[in-house]
């Protein structure tokens, strides 16, 4: 702690948290819909279902049809979370427990591979390329680099400076582009679950 790069990462993290909070509050500021029709089901049960079974391949045709992308996405997210975990230890000046050093390396490097795979898919699939804005590429490159360098820096400590620079950039960018789905994923899925729970569609009868 106390090193300039560590402070930069912490400042960027503070910015990310603050800006995300403001973005989330602004979205909340649009207000709640007053529902006057009597409910046919349970909103809470709908939310629970939306975060659990509704995300599994059995309930999601899009997952069944795109299992490699689904797997790449899962690994990418796991690797990113692992990289943030390693970052927390580094910033705290605490050594990573020996038992998790290799799992963390594997998770972060695999996550980076997942990110690269998704980046390649985005670049090579016509309708995905057409959907994309620069943000889609910037967000992926920053996150993939962050995960890759987290794993690489644990093998080659001289890469840690580069990793912390990328971490700072990622945190600065986080609330600006699509990575803000790190909070809006949860709120959106909750709203969707509540909607279908209220209407009696979730939990699914099929």
């Amino acid at each position: 702690m106390g090193q300039p790069l560590h402070l930069a990462v912490l400042a960027a993290a503070a910015w990310a948290v603050g800006a995300l909070a403001v973005t989330w509050l602004r979205a909340r500021g649009f207000g709640r819909r007053v529902l006057l029709a009597p409910a046919a089901g349970d909103r809470s049960a709908g939310v629970c279902y939306a975060f659990t079974r509704a995300m599994l391949p059995q309930a999601k045709e899009s997952v069944r049809m795109h299992l490699p992308s689904y797997a790449a996405g899962m690994v990418f997210h796991l690797g990113t979370f692992a990289a943030f975990g390693v970052l927390a230890f580094v910033l705290a000046g605490v050594d990573l427990p020996a038992a998790v050093v290799w799992p963390a390396r594997i998770a972060t490097l695999a996550g980076a591979l997942g990110g690269l795979a998704l980046l390649a898919k985005r670049a090579l699939t016509p309708h995905l390329r057409g959907l994309s804005s620069p943000d889609d590429f910037v967000a992926n490159l920053l996150t993939t680099s962050f995960a890759a360098l987290a794993g690489a820096a644990s093998l080659r400590p001289q890469l840690q400076t580069a990793w912390l620079v990328v971490a700072t950039m990622l945190l600065l960018y986080l609330p600006i582009g699509k990575i803000r789905h790190c909070i809006f994923f949860f709120s959106s899925r909750a709203y969707l679950g509540a909607f279908f729970g209220y209407r009696g569609t979730f939990p699914s009868a099929s």
Partner: protein, 450 residues
């Protein structure tokens, strides 16, 4: 007549701002969250029947959403104002208005199948409804869809059927019912004050499918139900305000039902077999009117299910010997929460029932929803997108397709011709009426309803 293209060309900055203001006013926290959440993963693509039948970028649900989200980012987020090129933000100009029109009216039936398959869980139809509302505020609803709404506002029903024609049809069907049942007391009661149930129908029934209305009446007759139809506005259950997304007009149409219930002193409003009519009355109506109903609202499917469950009517499935499959209307099932009553009814009423794959909330839209049937400009796309439903039907090997929705029935009839399905298309009530077991006329209950 000024075309919609000419109206777009003539839009003033003030009108564009008005559209944007209306768009903003229709957004709540849920929609704001959805508009911030899309990651452009594209996994939603194959969930859309438009994309399945024509796999182009413009048919990807995320692309349709992005037209709307780009405007949201540009006008309602800091990043979109400061770095529009980076985050894909775009202003609300004439080109974007055209993109919205094509995306939310021309390539979407608001079926919501993409929502279930979205990685994030974005409720796309709710966002598209806000975009349609903005277009409606700028007088940019496709003319034929708006004409359907105008009919309801002017005539009390979406097909501009006169009161005289409606009453004549009901009286004719009453005679038919009496002949069919052999019961001279069989009724299609009109304006019976104090009846328990007010039964509402889709105007397509008196206009094109009178046997469907007769079948429902036969079920009521067999159940000795205390029911009535209304002769004045309030008999039409449809509400295309759900599709033009002008909530004020939708509320006025809903008010017809509320007024008819008050006028006739009924306690239960029964919505006939119509997906969007059920969705509009059951779920959106109270929001449009900003009050709860002082009466109970039920689907005819639920009513028939109760009759069969309680033994109030009995059926012989052998009378429906052909293989039957069931179409799940999006507004009734995915968005309406009514998926099981129709299944229980059919399992009792037909000899061989086969499910489509997928079914229930995962079912594909027939292509006729979202007001598509009323928009001639998009007819080719509608028929093409219905190819998914046609294939589903073919795969079942069914001879009869039951659809508890008259809009879906219209589309299915067109698909039947276009894709040479060779099936019959019927309502649930028609299947029940066919299978009814009656031992001659039931005894009268003193209310004149039997």
């Amino acid at each position: 007549m000024v075309t919609i293209e000419e109206r777009i060309d003539a839009l003033t900055e003030r009108e564009l701002q008005h559209g944007l203001d209306v768009f903003r006013s229709k957004l709540r926290a849920a929609e704001a969250s959805y508009l911030n959440a899309c990651v452009h993963c594209g996994l939603c693509a194959e969930s859309c029947h438009y994309f399945r039948m024509e796999p182009t970028l413009e048919n990807v649900p995320a692309r349709k959403l992005d037209h709307v989200a780009a405007v949201f980012r540009r006008h309602f987020t800091t990043a979109g104002r400061l770095a529009p090129g980076l985050v894909g933000a775009r202003g609300f100009d004439r080109a974007m208005v055209r993109a919205w029109l094509d995306a939310v009216f021309g390539r979407c039936s608001l079926c919501g199948r993409c929502s279930l398959n979205c990685t994030i869980g974005i409720g796309l139809p709710r966002v598209f409804r806000a975009a349609r509302a903005a277009l409606a505020a700028m007088d940019l609803v496709p003319d034929d869809l708006q004409a359907t709404v105008d009919n309801s506002l002017r005539h009390g029903n979406n097909m501009a059927i006169t009161r005289e024609d409606w009453v004549d049809t009901v009286q004719w069907l009453e005679e038919e019912l009496q002949m069919e049942t052999g019961d001279p007391e069989a009724r299609l009661p009109l304006d019976r004050h104090g009846a328990k149930m007010l039964f509402t129908v889709n105007p397509r029934e008196p206009k094109f499918f009178p046997l469907s209305l007769q079948a429902s009446a036969k079920v009521f007759w067999a159940a000795r139900e205390d029911w009535t139809l209304a002769s004045d506005p309030g008999w039409d259950l449809t509400n295309y305000g759900l599709f033009n997304c002008n909530d004020e007009q939708a509320g006025q149409i809903t008010q017809n039902l509320v007024d008819a219930m008050a006028r006739l002193g009924c306690t239960t409003l029964v919505i006939g077999e119509c997906g969007h009519g059920f969705g509009a009355a059951r779920w959106e109506g109270p929001e449009w009117l900003q009050r709860t109903y002082p009466f109970e609202l039920r689907s005819m499917l639920d009513v028939m299910d109760e009759y069969l469950e309680s033994g109030r009517i009995t059926v012989d499935p052998a009378r429906n010997a052909k293989t039957v499959t069931l179409h799940d209307p999006c507004n009734l099932v995915r968005h309406g929460g009514v998926s099981e009553p129709q299944r229980r009814v059919l399992r009792r009423s037909v000899s061989r029932f086969v499910e489509m794959t997928p079914s229930r909330e995962h079912n594909f839209c027939c292509g006729g929803g979202g007001g598509q049937l009323a928009m001639a400009a998009y007819k080719d796309r509608r028929i093409r997108s219905g190819g998914m439903k046609a294939q589903q039907i073919k795969d079942t090997g069914a001879e009869i397709v039951v659809a508890p929705c008259h809009n879906c029935i219209d589309q299915l009839m067109e698909l039947n011709k276009e894709y040479r399905l060779g099936v019959q298309i019927k309502t649930v009530a028609e299947m029940v009426a066919e299978a009814l077991v009656t031992d001659g006329p039931p005894p009268t209950d003193g209310k004149g309803t039997t």
